[in-house]
Amino acid sequence: MNYAFRFNVVWDHFPELMNGALLTIELSATAMAMGLGLAVLCAYGKSAGPRPVRWLLAGYVELIRNTPFLVQIFIFYFSLPMIGIRLTANSAALAAMTINLGAYASEILRAGIEAVPRGQVEAARALGLRRLQIFRSIIIFPALKAVYPALTSQFILVMLSSSVVSTISAVELTAVTNSLQSTTFRSFEFYFVAMGLYFAMSLGFRASLSVIYWAAFERSR
């Protein structure tokens, strides 16, 4: 194979790549925060809600976990306008990412909640704590701590799968990379650099999530 690499083309366009990476970070970080919030709400609804709510939540989780992310994105961007809900590419991407992460994270949280000893919940009830208080202090906090590593992996996965949203014209890192490689034809160079940027972002998110873990669970000890 006698391919002549020309990385100088990539460095000429590096600011554009960084703009794309910035949108990837924004979308991912927002989806992580909102997705986790959604997952906690689902967990509460599942443990304390009336039966129809529990069925509805179970349906949501199964529907999202058993359909492709790409199809979910298409529905948010291309199908919702048919019923009058018009989202921009970025909002459609964010909504799809949040709803997708919410389903997966609520399943991960369920495992953590099941690991909380029943005795603790019964003790809290005997002490007269209300439902929401029990959920907040006895169930969700230890559960989050127990499943934090699994949640971290899911968060990173959401960041990586955000590359798919370029298909609906959101201009994140993969979209910028695709545009640049198709106008300069230096596909190897651009994809290599994009890979490096994704790897760096993964490491950055992992580090930030570790700091959040320390701040939330370790510092108080």
Binding site: F78, P81, A89, S169, N178, F185, S187, F188
Partner: protein, 266 residues
């Protein structure tokens, strides 16, 4: 132990000539390899009507596909399709996944820096398409509108240059997504080939989609890797012969419904 060593020597001596014979003295070119393996790998884009589509049974069809089939038949080799998205038409060729790409790739000076064009085997028109209610009569009217275009197409190379300041260009990875964006109203207008345009218009009669502007006329050609002169020369010969005997014109008419304009050569 010595017996084993002897056996090893015998095996090496027996195998060595076959291994050495696998490396010919002269570097083998792509055309030689195609003829020897009796197989040509052709990259096609089946999401680009009417040049490349999937028929009702999921098989590749369209004018590019028909050209590839006829070419492989005349070359006397088996045909293997490598289906790629429009963004993958050049990278997959450069990565060696295909020997030639036949996917209505318009000839541009920029692309020719990376791949070698054969002589053109067809022509197409790039147009701006929008609903009847949208007022676009000149390029200046594109300002403030959301115009959907597909990456790695001729639209990408031409529309941004003619669009005035303030045009909001929205990029999609596939022509299908661009069309869907127009139909669902996510963009005001799109740039497509005139053929894709008329297919979209007739498939969505309720939307009253019409041609607003003609952006450019372009010739498209098969592409090969830089240095594959032998393969390029064979394809050019094939294009010459099939221009003369009318096969190219017949295939073009069959899929696009219009007459093939005279094809220049270079």
């Amino acid at each position: 132990m010595r017996k084993l060593f002897k056996l090893f020597v015998v095996v090496v001596l027996a195998v060595a000539p076959t291994i050495l014979a696998a490396y010919p003295a002269r570097a083998e070119n792509t055309l030689d390899r195609i003829l020897k393996e009796k197989k040509i790998r052709v990259a096609i884009d089946v999401a680009n009507p009417p040049f490349g589509i999937l028929d009702s049974s999921g098989q590749p069809d369209g004018s590019d596909v028909a050209v590839a089939r006829q070419m492989a038949k005349d070359l006397g080799v088996e045909l293997e399709f490598v289906q790629v998205p429009s963004t993958g038409r050049i990278p997959s060729l450069l990565a060696g996944r295909a020997d030639v790409t036949i996917a209505s790739i318009s000839i541009t000076a920029d692309r020719a820096k990376t791949v070698m064009f054969c002589n053109p085997d067809g022509a197409l028109l790039i147009v701006i398409l929008g609903p009847k209610s949208l007022a676009i009569a000149a390029p200046a009217d594109l300002a403030g509108k959301r115009i959907g275009i597909t990456r790695a197409t001729l639209e990408e190379a031409t529309v941004p240059k003619m669009a005035p300041q303030g045009t909001n260009i929205v990029w999609f990875d596939e022509i299908g997504a661009t069309i869907q964006a127009l139909v669902s109203g996510q963009v005001d207008a799109v740039a497509l080939t005139s053929f894709a345009g008329s297919a979209v218009a007739s498939a969505n009669p309720g939307k009253q989609i019409e041609t607003k502007l003609i952006v450019t006329t372009a010739y498209y050609a098969p592409i090969v890797r830089p240095g594959d002169f032998e393969l390029r020369q064979w394809i050019n010969t094939w294009i010459f012969l099939n221009t003369q005997n009318g096969t190219l014109a017949a295939l073009y008419k069959k899929y696009t419904g219009v007459n093939l304009p005279p094809l220049p050569v270079f």
